[in-house]
Symmetry: C2
């Protein structure tokens, strides 16, 4: 397998992930156990560890955290450790079942204790551990249960499959999410390989919490933290920053990148493509596993005066409740697409604007095209509805993914549980 | 009845409108007929006319139109007439059943023909007629049916009740919407009165259209067009610009104000309060008649650094899908409120931020308050859920109204009809 050269998935939102979990890159071990934070017997503690297979186990680290101003305790603590360690770490621990958000000073104390106890268990400096949490908001982290589970968590570590880790960070996800690319290149006469493997947990509601998105992308490419950060930010920009299910960002959202530096210097273009492909596959799996998902929505905008204009129109159309309900209904309602574009806050010329769906023009030259209704209906009942807008104002283009808004989404999120 | 001195309704979203329709102010006649634009026998053409009861029938006019860049033909034509006539007009005609939006050059021709034919029927200059349309997008206006109905429309004109007019502009509204205030003041030893009466049609989906909101507010106060414009803009800012059901603005949204100048100079403060009260009552009726409405949502923010900050937080919380589904479920999910506030793009201090509902503190000093769960549940199952946020950053406050997002909303809007 080689890195797919497309940066923006040409095939819409992918259906199920591959059934067999890919391997983490060389230099990583992972594990997961049930600590009793969620219901008994369900894995809720995950660990990714630099195992030193080909070196000292030190990992380069980078992270993109939530832009929400209400930031959960583990993110505050991880941010501090990234700074203190100069982004050279050994381990990342994630618990599900409790977000440790809106927990005040005591929340910070418990996140720090998680880090210190794990560092002691693994025999590494506490500044070399990162942490995140996902689950209920406003409830203190059951730190005793976590500490009790740490020896078993350490014992569960093994190289290879990412499956246990991916499953241990799930909340109301209906399936684990993973994606991987292997890059091959010639170093003189020697063929060399590098792996980029990512996992994610997606939009899932846990009372009284909102969706939290966490992703971890690991590679064995040799990269300084700053190089890794560049690859991560560019990949996130093309993936996780281009999707929406709720329109809400959570207190715990984060994407981590870690490199074990075993594979040597990888051709940067190939590595960038692999990062983008993995991040994009994961992001679209998060959309597909969004609550009440029935049909995907992809909005591509071209002809923008600037990229920011193109993105703004794509995002506004993709997030419009009226467009999203029309997608659910398989309803070729181009009037709603037009109205959403018109309120995007971007200069538009209604007489040159073109709106298409699945390649069929619906609106052009200021008027409906009266396209063949059977073909149009087919475009709106596809597994992923692809809407295209040509603003005819310039050369910039962008894309945004969402999904139809469904009754099931409302049902899940309106469901009162105490 | 006197103008209510409250500018921001203290009683949340009002329930049903008064069952008896109020009267238009002096100097106005109105009518409505079935022109066959909607299904046979249903009124779809409405006319408001300066009848010259106490003068020449000239009305001062003002309007606030949609901010959407895709603007329907009738709005373009009305805007031009407002300019040409220096906002001194005689009549406003509104049809329901067809929005005349996204109809290109031909749409403009048909809106102009509506105006010219009505002007001829009424014997007034064509520049003194305003027009708007609401209904299906992308379908040409059935101008022949409209022209055929104009004599009957003229014949239906009578002073008094606003009921026929209010019913004739309805689309999928489940009930007509009207509100009225009478202002009384002493002019020396003479008691004088002035009336402000408004009607509205609200969020209703007509395939392939989005919600269109149209409101008309009339008064007999003596006002220049510019004074009338000032009252209208200030009232709209406190009402229609503070509500959301869809998050979408339509191609035809508009609020018209007309004054017949029969009542003399009204104390400006009392007039401003009456305008605000009428506009706010109408706006909240639009919310209450929003598709799938089950429960209202009022978000009040105080302690903002600036009013724009306070409004931004109120709007973001009120429009959050996760908050709105929690409201539907009667779910005291303060975590979602916090997260929405945190992504509003406004400086916040999580450790001083307070979140309450129905007067009960839920989150303060960076932590949940562990308020009495029965009382909290009661606050979240009220007819209108009232959320209060104190940002503790300054003195600015604002309010925004919305409603729970329901399965019925999705059902109505996902319903495919050809």
């Amino acid at each position: 397998m080689t890195a797919t050269p497309t940066t923006l998935s040409p095939n819409g939102i992918p259906s199920n992930p591959p059934t067999t979990a890919p391997h983490w890159p060389r230099g990583f071990s992972s594990g997961g156990v049930a600590a009793g934070i969620k219901k008994p017997g369900v894995n809720d503690l995950a660990l990714l560890f630099g195992n030193g297979e080909f070196g000292n186990g030190e990992l380069s680290a980078a992270a993109v955290f939530t832009r929400n101003l209400i930031v959960a305790a583990p993110i505050q603590v991880s941010r501090a450790n990234l700074a203190v360690s100069s982004a050279r770490i050994r381990a990342l621990i994630i618990n599900s079942g409790c977000a440790n958000a809106a927990t005040g000073e005591e929340g910070l104390v418990r996140s720090r204790r998680t880090i210190e106890s794990l560092a002691a268990t693994l025999g590494v400096p506490s500044q070399s551990v990162l942490v995140n949490s996902t689950g209920v908001i406003g409830v203190q982290l059951p730190i005793d249960r976590i500490e009790k589970a740490l020896p078993a968590l350490k014992a569960s570590l093994q190289p290879g499959s990412c499956e246990t880790f991916a499953r241990s960070i799930m909340t109301t996800d209906t399936r684990p999410k993973w994606a991987s690319r292997i890059i091959r290149w010639m170093d003189g006469t020697t063929e060399r390989t590098c792996t980029v493997t990512g996992v994610a947990k997606g939009a899932g509601m846990i009372h009284p919490n909102m969706a939290t998105m966490i992703s971890v992308i690991a590679t064995d490419a040799t990269l300084t933290p700053s190089e890794l950060d560049g690859h991560l930010r560019s990949a996130v920009e093309q993936s996780f920053h281009r999707i929406s299910v709720d329109g809400d960002t959570s207190t715990n959202d984060s994407v981590f990148a870690l490199s074990s530096n075993c594979a040597g210097t990888v051709p940067p273009n190939q590595l960038a493509l692999a990062f983008e492909a993995v991040a994009q596959e994961l992001a679209l799996m998060v959309v597909r596993d969004g609550e009440g998902f029935e049909r995907g929505l992809e909005v591509r905008v071209q002809g923008g005066r600037t990229q920011s204009d193109a993105l703004q129109v794509a995002r506004t159309v993709a997030m419009s409740l009226l467009v999203r309900t029309a997608v659910t209904g398989g309803d070729p309602n181009w009037g709603r697409i037009l109205a959403a574009a018109g309120r995007a806050g971007v200069e538009l010329n209604p007489s040159t604007l073109r709106v298409s769906a699945g390649g069929i023009a619906l609106f052009a030259a200021g008027e409906p095209t009266n396209a063949d209704s059977v073909a149009v209906r087919r475009a709106f009942t596809a597994d992923t509805v692809r809407i295209e807008l040509d603003l005819a104002m310039g050369d910039a283009s962008d894309v945004f993914w969402s999904c139809g808004l469904t009754k099931r989404y409302v049902e899940i999120n309106a469901d009162y549980t105490t």
